[in-house]
């Protein structure tokens, strides 16, 4: 039987083209996402080894605490670093210090504004980058840039440049070009290596301090960790090199794995749609071959043997399509990478990694899905009666069995009730599933009903319109399965658009209600000096600029930060406010802490221990609670000037809130941005940046998900082409007769086109309808269950585009079958075969 199956495939390849293409597209997409994510994971993990390969112990910020948000500003004091360098077993240390830098061209414009300045690591083994041209930067005024920066901005060894740092513009000479493993730069925006001679001035306002410290030792890692631990400053922890690398690998690996899982979920969806196409094709093939199957049955092929033959065909087709899919997917990986590069996303790593596992998995999956999709048609084939071999043609059986009507009605009813009245996520999920399956099962009924509804419209097109609509109603099962493939894609696009837009509008609306400062500027490592404040206050539309001092500390051992400044002015321009007590009560020995929930917030009257990076400690009494808000997370806990000086020293402000007039915001923003751009260490964020960020994130998500769903619609398109082609082959005698009695080729083609449009319209309209209903049901459930007042937002333009695109797809899908319908000679067409 395997041979019969193989010969069946070999002698009728055209029959299977669409099936193979459908499998291929799904598998290719699945394989490509796998290859791509593997490459990313591989490259990132490789980078971990390259960057930290020789590290035996690492002194890093302890970000396990609840106040992890504040941890980024902690520093290791230079004196502490020196003590560690001279500890037992330590051979070399590499302090990490980074800061934002940029370059200024001769005409005053800035470039490479996302570049990271990095303290050059003198120890060869600990240094992750290699000098590929020129020398390492050694003396003041020397820098090295990475290969990518050099290429993008035409920098060569010996060039004189103006570098913008915390210390302002400075002249520098490019003395070397660096490279980091297979990628150019260690940092995403480019890496500028700066020698010790100037690094502390340029990256941290002159103080010798580090963000992290990597240690290379001579002996056992555990002994090294034990030697360093007692010296480690508050807020930091010591990890052995192996643990540290494992953590880093896990961190980057999980990003890649998440990427892989999300992408492959969409690929699976595309394959599911492909399963409909495969199922449909084989159903049609079984109908076409009913006489051959009947003959086989007459001369003694058992139902089991026939079933097996069909499954073998599925197996052959599945393997072939999947293998092709993996090859195409391999090519697609490069296309993806090129496409992403074109829109500015550089994926780590290069090429595609063709692992045995990531190649076999899609082949297995594609084949299994194909064989499963063939199961039902194969069972039907096995039921072929031998006398059907002797009949002229098989009659269409009525699809409206009582079981189908009752089953779909029950499913639809259950779905609607569970969705409208469900009490928890599980019930809603069951409802959504029941409704979806119900619509799929009810497909043929919907097809007949839809055909009846559309009949008057299509009758306007004359005889061919009527014949087209009757053809869709004649085999409603086939019409339904073809339309269902499209329905799934359209349904998901609609659901994602409706639910996504609604949630976006709701969340953004909520965030808008939060009161914040209009703009926040923060200097990383530098200061907000009075000159800058004055310049900002001169900007048209700015009413007040309040700069204040802020420092990273530990609060009861947890990373946190404290600030001090003109608290009355800060209350005026920002959302900082007390929730309990008063700022007036915060004396020299007191602190106002940010409320982060009852349990985690120290009660008023209790004492907290605050320590700075150098380990200086102070006990402060909690005098007030600050309301948790966007601005209070920017600022941190409030202390008086006296306490701040005692703990931190006489530092300059590093943060400022800017208050602007309402209206004319965009020109004001542009003016502020222009000022800030001259200072690479200063970042500007809009006060309500969260709203914009989240709005943007939602938009990106909705578009990305819909973009991926387009894949499934493409496969549905292939399905329509396939079904129409096969159905035209089946009806060639009928079409021949129509032409023999005088229907022109153009009208025959129009008939086929109309049939395709009817199928596409059914799939699209039902899909949009189902998506709208489910979106509405889910949104109102959220309102009902959580008490939040979420109102449905309809992305009307998008829905109209989806509807129009669906019908257009119908026209597109009919191009090939319509041409084929009149290609056959009239006499050949009506001849008995």
């Amino acid at each position: 039987m395997l041979r019969l199956a193989w010969l069946g495939v070999r002698h009728n390849p055209a029959r299977y083209v669409a099936t193979i293409v459908a499998i291929m597209v799904g598998v290719a997409f699945f394989a490509a996402t796998g290859f791509l994510s593997d490459r990313v994971v591989d490259a990132l993990e490789g980078n971990v080894d390259r960057e930290y390969g020789t590290v035996d112990a690492a002194l890093i910020v302890d970000d396990s605490g609840a106040a992890g948000d504040f941890a980024g500003n902690l520093r290791i004091d230079g004196a502490v670093a020196d003590r560690i360098a001279s500890a037992d077993g330590v051979e070399a240390t590499a302090g990490v210090l980074t800061g934002k830098v940029a370059f200024r061209a001769a005409d005053g414009s800035t470039f490479a504004t996302d570049a990271t300045g990095r303290l050059w690591v003198e120890d060869d083994e600990l240094n992750p980058v290699d000098v590929i041209e020129g020398n390492a930067p050694a003396t003041a005024g020397e820098i090295a840039v990475d290969k990518g920066l050099a290429k993008d901005h035409d920098l060569t060894v010996g060039d004189q440049v103006t570098i913008l740092t915390l210390a302002g513009p400075a002249d520098a000479t490019v003395v070397g070009i660096t490279k980091f493993g297979s990628t150019d730069a260690l940092d995403s925006g480019g890496t500028v290596s700066i020698p010790r001679a100037t690094a502390f001035d340029w990256l941290s306002s002159g103080q010798v301090e580090y963000q992290a410290l990597y240690v290379r030792g001579s002996g056992d890692q555990a002994a090294l960790v034990a030697a360093i631990e007692p010296i480690a400053p508050k807020g930091y922890r010591v990890q052995s090199g192996d643990d540290f690398r494992a953590d880093q690998r896990k961190a980057v690996g999980s990003t890649g794995q998440l990427l892989k899982r999300v992408l492959q979920a969409f690929a699976l969806l595309a394959m599911l749609v492909g399963a409909f196409v495969i199922y449909n094709t084989f159903s049609v093939i079984v109908t076409q071959r009913v006489r051959e199957l009947g003959l086989l049955s007459a001369i003694g092929a058992t139902p089991k043997q026939i079933k097996r033959a069909l499954r073998y065909e599925g197996l052959v087709i599945g393997l072939l399509g999947s293998a092709l899919g993996v090859l195409v997917g391999f090519g697609l990986t490069f296309a993806f990478a090129v496409g992403l590069t074109a829109i500015g996303i550089d994926l780590p790593g290069s090429g595609a990694k063709l692992g045995l596992g990531s190649a076999l998995q899609p082949i297995l999956l594609g084949t299994v899905i194909t064989v499963l999709s063939v199961m039902i048609p194969a069972r039907r084939a096995a039921r072929t009666e031998p006398i059907e071999a002797l009949r002229a043609s098989a009659a269409e059986q009525s699809p409206l069995t009582r079981g189908r009507v009752i089953g779909s009605a029950a499913l639809l009813g259950l779905g609607v009730v569970a969705l409208v009245a469900g009490r928890d996520a599980k019930q809603l999920g069951i409802g959504a599933l029941a409704l979806f399956v119900g619509v799929i099962v009810a497909g043929p009924i919907i097809a007949i009903g839809g055909a009846r509804l559309l009949r008057p419209v299509l009758s306007l097109f004359g005889l061919e319109g009527r014949l087209a609509i009757d053809n869709t109603a004649r085999s409603p099962k086939r019409t339904a399965i073809t339309a269902n493939a499209l329905l799934i894609g359209v349904f998901l696009v609609t659901l994602v658009s409706v639910a996504g837009t609604t949630m976006k509008d709701f969340v953004v609306e909520k965030i808008r209600e939060i009161e914040t400062a209009d703009y926040v500027i923060q200097s990383t490592g530098g200061t907000i000096d009075p000159a800058l404040v004055t310049k900002l206050e001169e900007v048209d539309g700015v009413t007040e600029v309040v700069a204040f001092r802020r420092e990273a500390v530990t609060l009861d051992g947890q990373a946190s930060q404290i600030f001090t400044g003109d608290i009355a002015a800060l209350e005026r321009v920002s959302g900082i406010d007390v929730s309990e007590g008063s700022f007036d009560d915060v004396g020299p020995g007191a602190i106002a802490v940010v409320g982060v929930g009852e349990a985690a917030t120290p009660a008023i009257g209790t004492t907290v221990a605050v320590a700075n990076a150098a380990g200086t400690r102070d006990e402060l009494e909690v005098a007030a609670h600050i309301k948790f808000s966007i601005d209070s997370t920017v600022a941190g806990n409030f202390v008086g000037e006296e306490a701040f000086d005692r703990l931190v020293g006489d530092t300059a402000p590093t943060v400022a809130f800017i208050d602007a007039e309402s209206g004319a915001q965009s020109t004001t923003k542009d003016a502020i941005e222009a000022l800030v751009d001259q200072r690479p260490d200063v970042d500007l964020t809009e006060g309500n940046f969260l709203g914009q960020l989240i709005g943007g994130a939602f938009d990106f998500l909705i578009n990305a998900v819909n973009g991926l769903l387009v894949m499934s619609i493409v496969i549905a398109l292939i399905g329509i082409v396939n079904t129409l082609s096969l159905s035209i082959f089946e009806r060639r005698r009928e079409l021949g007769l129509l032409r023999a009695v005088g229907m022109t080729d153009r009208r025959v083609q129009r008939m086929v086109r109309l049939e395709s449009v009817v199928i596409a319209t059914l799939g699209t309209v039902v899909g949009v309808g189902l998506g709208l209903f489910m979106g509405w049901a889910l949104v109102s459930s959220i309102s009902r269950l959580s008490g939040a007042d979420v109102s449905l937002s309809l992305p009307a333009t998008r829905l109209v585009i989806v509807l129009a695109a669906g019908i257009l797809l119908g026209v597109l899908a009919s191009l090939i079958p319509a041409r084929r319908s009149t290609k056959l000679d009239v006499l050949d067409a009506i001849q008995v075969t």
Binding site: H11, N12, L295, I299, G300, P303, E385, I387
Partner: protein, 248 residues
């Protein structure tokens, strides 16, 4: 094979066979209680006008279709008691079929088509017997061709070879010469006659062609689902005469 035929030499029979299509007023009685024996090692023709039930009778006895009531036997096996699969296995192991058209699997070569029943049963081919049949039907040089590369007569010869190669108890033929020209048809019938005379094959053939019927040992006449007459040692002219009586 003689061991499956009964002692009185009956290869197949029908008892009170009734086949009804449709229900109630629209019911059509294709067979209205037919009782008939098909003797072993003989060539029997079933004749009758269109709609007389001759094809239905053959299909029900051959296990291709089921009777509404009554019983059909192949040897001593009662067909109505068999499951779908058992019925298929019975057809595969004990019966051979020749149809008017669409007789071959288009993707298999002539040789593969001839051996298909044995392949389905997983039995080895008796090469000597295969050679005998192939040379008798004269298809020795076209074994590798696909059906589409053969003429209608050649295709039908492959079908006959396929029916005979497993040495079935009975070969059922439904209008085997219907799609052939007269000289090819005669050649085919001569060959079927020879199979009965020389190897003791039992053949039951449905036909409406008096010339074809004249090759049989006996002819059964059917009209309106009932047997109306039987004729031994028929000739074309005698059969033609009898047919005229029906119409008259």
């Amino acid at each position: 094979m003689s061991e499956t035929t009964t002692t009185n030499g009956t290869a197949a029979r029908a008892v009170e066979a009734v086949k009804t299509y449709g229900k109630g007023e629209a019911a059509v009685h294709a067979l209205a209680g037919v009782t008939v024996d098909f003797p072993a090692h003989r060539f029997t023709a079933i004749m009758g006008p269109s709609g007389s039930g001759k094809t239905t009778l053959m299909q029900c006895i051959a296990g291709l279709d089921r009777l509404t009531s009554g019983s059909a036997y192949i040897g001593e096996t009662e067909l109505s008691k068999l499951s779908r699969t058992d019925l298929t296995l019975l057809r595969r192991d004990r019966l051979g079929f020749i149809f008017q058209q669409y007789n071959l699997i288009p993707t298999l070569s002539a040789r593969e088509n001839m051996l298909l029943p044995l392949t389905l049963a997983g039995k080895p081919a008796d090469e000597e017997w295969f050679e005998t049949i192939v040379s008798t039907v004269g298809m020795g040089d076209r074994l590798k061709n696909l059906p589409s590369q053969l003429s209608g007569g050649q295709q039908q010869r492959v079908a006959v070879a396929r029916a005979l190669i497993p040495r079935p108890d009975i070969v059922f033929a439904d209008e085997p010469t219907g799609a052939l020209d007269s000289s090819t048809g005669t050649e085919m019938l001569t060959f079927m006659r020879k199979a009965v005379d020389e190897t003791g094959q039992t053949i039951v053939m449905v036909t409406h062609d008096p010339h074809a019927a004249s090759f049989a040992n006996s002819v059964l006449f059917l009209a309106d689902g009932q047997i109306t007459d039987e004729m031994e040692a028929p000739t074309t002219d005698r059969v033609l005469d009898r047919m005229k009586q029906f119409e008259g």
